[in-house]
């Protein structure tokens, strides 16, 4: 527990903590309040009299309804969900296999390959998006979900592999050897003995990969062009602003609803998410 005099507790703990919470969470409060505030209240200049920005007396669902009825928001949600799920599954399969091979099997260049995969983990998407866009066009993948389903694994696999390697290394070798003595093949030992033990790791990697693909922006922005193919981040950015006019109510409603799937995935698996995050850092 926090020790010391009461004023010390306030100065060194409660006040800084309150400052952090306010700084980190205020934008979300601001999204909520904007999303349910009628236009008449939204577009009042900041210095007008009687203006109270922090709550509203007439909450409205107009923005949410407008978003769902007048825009393709629901389609973007489906697109994003499909793309995020598919690329997560591909990355998990690849990551589990590669992680197992690198952690458990003896073969030439294992160390070099491991480092190589780690380096690709550090390649930012913004480095390659222009040549990649050209390649996607040449394969006629442009403007299809496959453009993203196949490219997202490039930043998900390295991270999944790295995380799974850590988990596989922690599983005692004897467990596998016992199964082998009982007549299991290498493949069977991996599938039925080692992978089940590493389920928590797979879950962590999966949650983390899902949120990363849901959040991805630049590839989706460059590779997709028709409004009905877009993902939530790109759709909200490009379709909810007409000309130079920002529809802030709808924008904030879209930002909120578009965050819900990640927020739900996160809230169910906070511990797994945190261990995925810190595992990716500890390496």
């Amino acid at each position: 527990m926090i020790e010391g005099a009461r004023w010390k507790r306030w100065v060194f703990f409660y006040l800084p903590m309150a400052f952090f919470l306010l700084f980190l969470l205020f934008p979300f409060y601001w999204m909520v309040i904007t999303a349910i505030r009628p236009d008449g209240e939204l577009y009042r200049p900041w210095n007008s009299i009687n203006y109270n920005p922090f709550w509203t007396t007439q909450p409205t669902w107009d923005h949410v309804r407008g978003l769902l009825e007048e825009t393709l928001f629901a389609t973007w949600m489906w697109n994003t969900m499909f793309i995020a799920m598919a690329s997560t599954v591909i990355s998990l399969v690849c990551g589990v296999f590669a992680g197992y091979a690198l952690a458990r099997l003896n073969f030439p260049f294992a160390g070099g390959l491991g480092t190589g995969i780690f380096i690709t983990y550090l390649v930012p998407q913004t480095l390659l998006f222009i040549p990649l866009a050209e390649i996607i066009r040449n394969y006629s993948l442009g403007d299809t979900p496959w453009a993203l389903i196949l490219t997202y694994p490039t930043f998900l696999i390295p991270f999944c592999t790295w995380l799974m390697m850590g988990y596989f290394k922690a599983v005692p070798k004897e467990l596998e050897e016992c199964a082998r003595i009982d007549g299991a093949s290498r493949w069977q030992a991996m599938l039925y003995i080692i992978i089940p033990v590493a389920i928590p790791g797979i879950l962590s990697a999966g949650i983390f990969a899902f949120t990363l693909s849901w959040n991805e922006f630049i590839y989706a922005l460059v590779f997709l062009s028709s409004p009905d193919q877009k993902t939530v981040p790109v759709g909200v950015t490009s379709e909810l602003i007409r000309g130079d006019v920002f529809f802030w109510g709808q924008l904030m409603a879209g930002a909120l609803l578009g965050s819900i799937p990640v927020a739900i995935a996160y809230s169910f698996f906070v511990e797994h998410y945190v261990s995925g995050l810190t595992g990716s850092v500890k390496g």
């Binding site: 527990m1 926090i2 952090f20 919470l21 700084f23 980190l24 934008p27 979300f28 601001w30 999204m31 900041w46 920005p53 591909i90 399969v93 690849c94 990551g95 296999f97 590669a98 091979a101 690198l102 099997l105 003896n106 073969f107 380096i119 690709t120 550090l122 930012p124 913004t126 480095l127 998006f129 222009i130 040549p131 866009a133 050209e134 390649i135 196949l150 490039t154 016992c178 009982d182 093949s185 290498r186 493949w187 849901w214 959040n215 922006f217 630049i218 460059v222 939530v232 981040p233 790109v234 950015t237 802030w248 904030m252 930002a255 965050s259 809230s267 906070v270 945190v274 810190t278 500890k282």
Partner: protein, 311 residues
């Protein structure tokens, strides 16, 4: 039980089918398991990288293949004042935000490392800025910095700090500060949670022993906690520096590189030239100009991490 299984397998069975023998060979199994990963990474990382270099020494535009022009694109960048501004901005942006993210993140990690009521809850909520799609949360900030309807202006006005409005995103310096604030906001949770994980591996007994020897809290932190936390800190900083250096989303949403190209970073300028105006090769050259710097950061940090680990 195990012995019988082995004997029946050894005595009774015919040699396993070819497919199975293939999977028994460690090298071949490893090759098969790594194949999908190598294929995807080769096709969508290694190949585009080579393609990008080739593209950057031609003069191709969208739909026009273009001819070999040597280092012309890079030479042109060298004399491009907007590119120079972007380089300066990227370094400033990365440097300033990393210092703040590390400082605030460490502070928050230390606060969270105590036990208090509602700790798990607080920790879960604090990560929100990091997990919510950046583009979407950046819109909330853009709205908060809106020149006419800014809640920040309202607050400062009510507090008596200002009399007229502040045009946050319309002034080059203020716009730069605004995007840095958003980046810090997004990055602090990542630093805090990662450093907290590092702090939790440090035995509190070490600090207690130092306390018994009469060390003040500040000294205990500086001589006991900080050196033990350093390896984790280095890795977290490495990740963050690379991500920040190559950042795109926050600037794209907040200012789009404006006002008057004053807040461009490498990535946003590459996007504007390569996708916006369709000068593919020029855009590829801008993106690739990031590479030597990123490479240097990675090498320096990997060497440092290895040194810490060896020690």
């Amino acid at each position: 039980m195990a012995a019988t299984a082995v004997t029946t397998a050894a005595l009774g069975d015919a040699p396993p089918p070819r497919r199975q023998r293939l999977l028994e060979d460690e090298r071949k199994l490893a090759f098969l398991l790594l194949l999908p990963t190598m294929l995807l990474l080769g096709l969508f990382i290694a190949y585009p990288f080579v393609r990008g270099i080739v593209l950057s020494v031609t003069d191709s535009r969208v739909g026009v293949p273009g001819d070999f022009v040597g280092l012309e694109n890079y030479r042109r960048l060298w004399s491009d004042s907007i590119f120079r501004q972007s380089v300066y901005n990227t370094f400033l942006y990365t440097g300033v935000t990393t210092v703040f993210k590390l400082g605030l993140g460490l502070w928050l990690a230390i606060l969270l490392n105590r036990s208090f009521r509602g700790k798990a809850f607080t920790r879960a909520f604090i990560l929100l800025p990091f997990i919510i799609p950046t583009v979407l949360s950046t819109f909330a900030w853009k709205w908060m910095f809106d020149p006419t309807f800014s809640v920040l202006n309202w607050l400062l006005y009510r507090l008596g700090a200002i009399t007229g409005r502040i045009n946050w995103l319309g002034d080059p310096d203020l716009a730069m500060i605004s995007i840095m604030v958003v980046n810090i906001w997004r990055g602090v949770p990542f630093f805090a949670i990662s450093l907290l994980a590092g702090l939790q591996t440090i035995s509190p007994e070490l600090s207690e022993a130092a306390a018994i020897d009469g060390a003040r809290p500040w000294k205990r932190f500086w001589y006991v906690t900080w050196p033990l936390l350093l390896p984790v800190t280095m890795v977290v900083v490495l990740f963050s520096v690379i991500q920040t250096f190559a950042d795109f989303q926050i600037v794209y949403v907040m200012t789009g590189g404006g006002p008057a190209n004053a807040t461009h970073l490498f990535a946003t300028y590459a996007y504007q030239i390569g996708v916006g105006t369709g000068l593919l090769s020029q855009g590829a050259a801008i993106s690739l100009a990031m590479f030597p710097i990123l490479f240097l950061i990675v090498v320096v940090q990997l060497l440092y991490i290895r040194r810490v680990e060896v020690r």
